[in-house]
Symmetry: C2
Subunit: 203 residues, 2 copies
């Protein structure tokens, strides 16, 4: 049995989809959370200076999407063939674009530039993605792809708290199909157990 | 035989990795390039309002990375197992982070904000990625993963012209292993043929 150690800041954000998948797989892992002030010392030891990093038997894996796709193959949350995998990847990458748009606002260090981004983001980009993801889920039996649960759904739900803080709203409040998807993922017993026991953090 | 139609602006940018892969596969495709002024009319017909879109027998596929990973499986440019696929995905996602950093400068519409980004980008971020990608390629027999050609290499090389314009420099000029990788990919006969016949554009 390989040993897993997940290295990240003391937040959910981009590590949470990995924590959700490891929980779903009922795979024990060390949830190593370092404090912000340790980052300068840790950063040079991380591949390309980034986290989350998942150490599998000491071997460092990075990039949350790559790690999630890999874990998904071990627990049947990938597609049954290349076409289904493609649909999952399309849904994930589209969510990633949405996250990038919201992040571009949230992490903008230039006060005036940031201010100018809020109106198009809140009035156009966010409602556009909400409506189109709702439609996508409606057309896929309540999931983001292939009419069944996949790692794209897990990634989406695990990132929602983080996304909601950045977007300053509950993004699924008015999209009943997406809201139901969130509730369904959070009700999976292994994930429910993880959410109950995880350390509390806003993002 | 399915028919392929690729829909994009009249540039290389994010469509070029798909064009490279279709060429590598010796797959005929319609290279549909629309003009900027047609975009408002085309945008509502594209999934999530974005391009490139690859139509396969009329079915719209979007998201360049998802499409490339799918095509790669058809021509052996994926990994031989889940672990190799993971290494390819890690390399691709890391390159994508690099692209996001350069794009964040290039597409910044706020003059002062953009100006402030140039020094950290050119003095820290770009040299950091160059050095680490060079190291990665050195450790992988001249490729980005697994000691052999994969779709991550194709994506990287196909995006280089676009990246170089955004970064205002030849990004592989001083990284001999990456430069050799670029030259090797561009020397693959099917890709060479495509590059010779493709419409000219800066990015």
């Amino acid at each position: 049995m390989p040993t897993y150690k997940l290295i990240y800041f003391p937040v959910k954000a981009l590590a949470e989809p990995i924590r959700f998948l490891l929980s779903y797989m009922e795979q024990d892992f060390e949830d190593y959370r370092f404090e912000r002030e340790q980052w300068p010392e840790i950063k040079p030891k991380m591949p390309f200076g980034k986290v989350p990093v998942l150490e599998v038997d000491g071997k460092q894996l990075h990039q949350s999407a790559a790690i999630c796709r890999y874990l998904a193959k071990q627990c049947g949350l990938n597609g049954k063939d290349a076409w289904e995998d493609l649909q999952i990847d399309i849904a994930f990458e589209t969510f990633n674009d949405f996250r990038a748009a919201v992040s571009s606002y949230h992490y903008d260090h230039h006060e005036e530039s940031k201010k100018l981004k809020w109106e198009p983001l809140s009035k156009e980009t966010i409602p556009y993605y909400q409506a189109n993801f709702e439609e996508l889920a409606k057309n896929n039996g309540g999931y983001l792809a292939n009419g069944k649960l996949s790692w794209a759904d897990i990634y989406f739900v695990a990132c929602l708290d983080y996304m909601n803080v950045m977007a300053k709203q509950d993004l699924v409040e008015n999209t009943p199909t997406l809201k139901k998807l969130r509730d369904e993922v959070l009700a999976i017993p292994t994930i429910k157990k993880w959410v109950e026991k995880r350390p509390q953090s806003e993002v």
